[in-house]
Structures are given as structure tokens and as C-alpha cells.
Amino acid sequence: MYSGLKSMREAFGDALADLGKINDKVVVLTADLTDAIKVTKFSESYPDRFFQMGIKESDMMGTAAGMAVDGLIPFATTFAAFATSLANQPIRVSVGYNRANVKIATSHGGVCVGADGATHQSFEDIALMRLIPKMTVLVPCDANEAYKATFAAAEFDGPVYLRFGRVATPVVTSFDDPFTIGKAKVLREGSDVAIVSTGSMTPTALSAAQTLGKEGLSVKVIHMPTVKPLDEKALIDAAKECKCIVSAEEHSIIGGLGSAVAEVISSEYPVVLERVGVLDTFGESGEPDEILKKYHLCETDIIEKVRSVLNKK
């Protein structure tokens, strides 16, 4: 459906509008960020099912939980940083502990928010959401997957965290590929090293694999659109086949995909692992590309880690 460059948040907006048409249980809440999270189309098509909550994220999460308790399928939308840390307590109790069928859908995950700086860049959201018991964490890699993940989240019964990027990123998956929560996607076969990536780092991982391929290396790329529950089998199979892994994510190396990978392989099939991600730091203002470079989230950074794990293998 999408090709070239397209932002995931726009695909999310399209998906919500389409979902609204076929499922009248779907309602949308936002905290003064209607256009930023791209729910304008839904708000115009289904004004009765759209709830402007004002700038009060905690109340929005609680309200969404109440709607879910009464049988609706609410999408509570805002930026990743505000949803997951500002409203963490209502997510923990009103959504998580209640097992309320709320979909927490966020934009501006990772560094891509750019010039707004550290307060708006979210490096911790995956870690925070992974910690909530029974929370499903979906981090699609492109617009096609963002669209399908939105539908999958609506069909799934239980709390889901969805993380979308702000800027247009390359579309690397086909719209016709099935999307199943909990399933990894092997985007490239290989046996020398496995790159396990999520979100917008997956296109970067694919180009790194291509570059390394030209040098004769056989690089597997496994995309994890579901960070929780992680597809452990796919991961262990890759560890057995490649004997070394590099994880890559636009998120802190603490608590995110890299940590999830370490948790699994350290007990199931220990192999060398290096993590590409934001180090233990806050971000800063700058163009997204400049920030990706400064914070070591580029193709060259993945390649460097691949060489490092191959040396240690």
C-alpha cells in the first residue's frame, strides 16, 4: 500500500480511520495533539467517538481504561515520552493491572523528533512499557507495518503499546505480508551474524546487511515488530545458526530490545551480543539525521558492532 518514504504516524492515522469504519467499538482519545499523532481523519469522520482530553495524559489513560472496561476499544494517543513516563502510573494500574483493552498509541518514539530536544525524545518508552505485566509492545518498522499493527492491536484483547516514528522513513516491508503479534520477521537470511532490530532501525539494519554482504559476509536480519512478547524461538534459532548477534534500536540500550535479547539468549543459548542504541544519556536538539549520527544510530555503527562480534565469536 505504501512505498518510498512515509511516516508511520500517517499510516497509523489511515489505519484508524479505516478501523473506525468497520468497528464502532473503536474510539480515539488525544491530549491536544490531534494532528501531530495524525488522528484528524478519524476525528472528522467519527466525531462522536473522538475524545479531546486536553493536555492531561494521566487522565486520558484512566478515561481510556474506563471506556475499555465498558467494552470499547480505546486508542489513547500522544507522544511516546508523555504517554509512558508522565502517565506511567495510570498505565500501570488503570490499564495494566486492570488488563484493560486500551491501545496506547504514540508518535515521536526515539530521536526522530529532532529539534524539540531531550524532553521530547523518548529513549525509555520501550523499557517502561516492557515492565508493565502483560503489556504487549509493538514497534513497527515502516508505514505498511504500522498500518497492520494498528489493526492487529485492535483485534487483540488486552493492553497494547504501539510506537510510531514522526519522520518519513523508508518502506521496507510488503503490505501483503501477514502481521502476527509475537512473530519475528526474517527480512534477510544469513549465517555469519544476525542483526536483530526493531522500529526505524530495521531499514538501517537492512542497509548495513547489504553493505556487509558486498564484502562477502552472510548477514541475517531479524525484525522484531513485537518487542514483548518476544519471539524467543526465532531468536534462539538465529543464535544457534549465526553464533553472534547485534541488536539495533532507536532506544536506550538499557531495557529495550537489546536487553530483551540478552535476557533470552543468556539463559537459552549464550552467544556474543553487542547492542546498538542510545547510551545512558538524554538527547538534544538537532536535525534527526545529525542526532542519529551523534548518538551512534547509523548504518556505520551497526557495521562496527558486527565487526566487533565477529572478532569475539
Partner: protein, 288 residues
């Protein structure tokens, strides 16, 4: 709103509240911990809800909802569930014990049909209650939503977010009861964090404000009626109550927020509360 038009037997409701107080004291003694003071002050309101105002049939999608946002006061609510036939009376003896449905703070996972939302961390249940009310309105349900807040709880910012939401959306099915006992763990509410002019604050958020003696059954019943009659805005009942109401040695003392009475104190408390012919005590609690 038929039930609000029927004759109300205040004496019967007072007996019900008296029994809820007895159960509460016994449960907390038996559990070895719990929050007795705030719960005792809520006896009239909880009694009026379950004895008069609420349709609480858990199978009815149009049942009225209750959210105990100040979840720590749940002993008296569990007692009301038992006395209304929603859970077995004997189950009150499991309160706060391992494996019990009667968790220390209400848990939806433990009782999905009876607990609309898990509460405990203050300030959160109110938003959920609003969400339920918005959903009920979307499907044109006549159900009302009751939400109980502590006055100390009003210090939580999220409470004011929720007051804004219900005011903005004119959620007239919402009825909030503030258990205004003017005490919190660290002492007097006015000393810990001033909440003066509460009536004006709430009116300015677009709420119908009714202030009553929350331990006077007639006033509670009348306030619930008035709340149901107001179809243009949400209603908040400021219920001026006494912490520990009904047990003189506990009354108006902040330490009884979370202190467990000894056996001797429990027996004195039961004597103070008194007994009526309407209800039998739950004998599994205090073997005498």
C-alpha cells in the same frame, strides 16, 4: 429513575449502615491490618448506595457503577457486597489474606464482575469512572456512575484533571462523593495541604455541588436523589463525615486511618456501634 421516587425507610438503611460498620471493624481486626477510620465514615453513603440508590446486578449491562477511588476504604464496600448477596458472607474472613479475592485494595483481576477498576494509588479511579460514564453515554445506557474520593485524595493533580473532564463533557451520570473527614495520614488536611473553599473550587469546574452531613442518612438519601435529578452537569456531594464515625475512641483521630484495633478495642468498638435485629454478625470473624 423510578427507584428515587419510592418511599425510603431511613431506619432500615441506618441498620444496614450499622451492620456495615460492625463488619468493617471485625474484618480489619481479623485481617490484622487495613484502613478502618475512613471506611467507618463512609457507612451511610455505601449503605445508601447498596440499600437504596444503586441497581447493582452484575449481569445487567445497565447496572449502576461504583468506583472506590480511595481504594483503601474497601473493607466497608466488601461488607456491602456481602450483605447485598454479591459475595458469600464467609468470604469477608479472607480479606487481605493470600489468594483472596478481597485484596487489600480493590482488584479488578481478582473480581472482574464486581470491581470496575483496580484502585489504590490515589487520584486514579476517578478518571476511570469518567471513562465508564462516557462509554455508557455513547451506548445510551441509563446507568449512573458513583465515585468515592477521600478529601486528602483531592491533593492529587489527576483528580482535578478528572473534575475538568466530567465538567467539560457535562457527564451528568457522574456522582462523586467526597469523604470529607478533614484528616489524612499526616494529620489535618488543612495543615498538610490546604483545601479551603472546596465548594467554590468544585462549582467553578462546572459541577453541581451539594454539601451535606455525610453521616446523616436522610441527608445522604436526599443528596443522591438530587444528584439523579440533575441532568445538565455532574454532581459532587461533599459529605462532611467523621473519621472513625460510630466508635468514639476512634472518632476524628488521624491515627485511625490505618491502625488495627486490638481484640479488646474491637470488642469495645462493636459495643459502641451497637447491634440491631435486622442482621446476624458474620460469626467466622471474631470467635467469642
Amino acid at each position: 429513575m423510578e427507584r428515587f421516587e419510592s418511599e425510603v425507610d431511613i431506619t432500615r438503611l441506618e441498620c444496614f449502615a450499622q451492620q456495615l460498620r460492625r463488619d468493617t471493624v471485625e474484618m480489619i481486626y481479623h485481617a490484622g491490618s487495613g484502613h478502618v477510620g475512613g471506611a467507618l465514615g463512609l457507612a451511610e453513603f455505601i449503605g445508601a448506595l447498596y440499600g437504596y440508590a444503586m441497581n447493582f446486578d452484575p449481569e445487567d449491562p445497565d447496572r449502576d457503577r461504583i468506583v472506590l477511588s480511595n481504594g483503601h476504604t474497601c473493607a466497608i464496600w466488601y461488607a456491602a457486597l456481602a450483605r447485598s448477596g454479591l459475595i458469600p458472607l464467609e468470604e469477608l474472613a479472607t480479606f487481605r489474606k493470600l489468594g483472596s479475592r478481597l485484596q487489600g485494595h480493590p482488584s479488578r483481576c481478582a473480581m472482574p464482575k464486581l470491581v470496575e477498576t483496580s484502585t489504590g494509588p490515589l487520584g486514579q479511579g476517578f478518571s476511570v469512572a469518567n471513562g465508564i460514564a462516557l462509554s455508557l453515554r455513547l451506548r445510551k445506557s441509563p446507568a449512573r456512575v458513583y465515585c468515592v474520593l477521600g478529601d486528602g485524595e483531592l491533593q492529587e493533580g489527576q483528580v482535578w484533571e478528572a473534575f475538568m473532564t466530567a465538567g467539560h463533557y457535562r457527564l451528568s451520570s457522574m456522582c462523586v462523593f467526597i469523604n470529607n473527614n478533614r484528616l489524612q495520614i499526616d494529620g489535618k488536611v488543612e495543615d498538610v495541604m490546604n483545601m479551603k473553599n472546596l465548594n467554590d473550587r468544585l462549582s467553578s469546574f462546572g459541577w453541581n455541588v451539594i454539601e451535606i452531613d455525610g453521616n446523616d442518612m436522610r441527608q445522604v438519601v436526599d443528596a443522591l436523589k438530587k444528584a439523579a435529578e440533575c441532568t445538565t452537569e455532574p454532581t459532587v456531594i461533599i459529605g462532611n463525615t467523621l473519621m472513625g464515625k460510630g466508635v468514639p475512641f476512634m472518632e476524628n483521630l488521624a491515627k485511625w486511618h490505618g491502625t488495627t484495633p486490638s481484640l479488646e478495642q474491637t470488642l469495645t468498638a462493636l459495643k459502641d456501634i451497637g447491634i440491631n435485629d435486622e442482621y446476624a454478625d458474620c460469626s467466622v470473624l471474631i470467635p467469642q
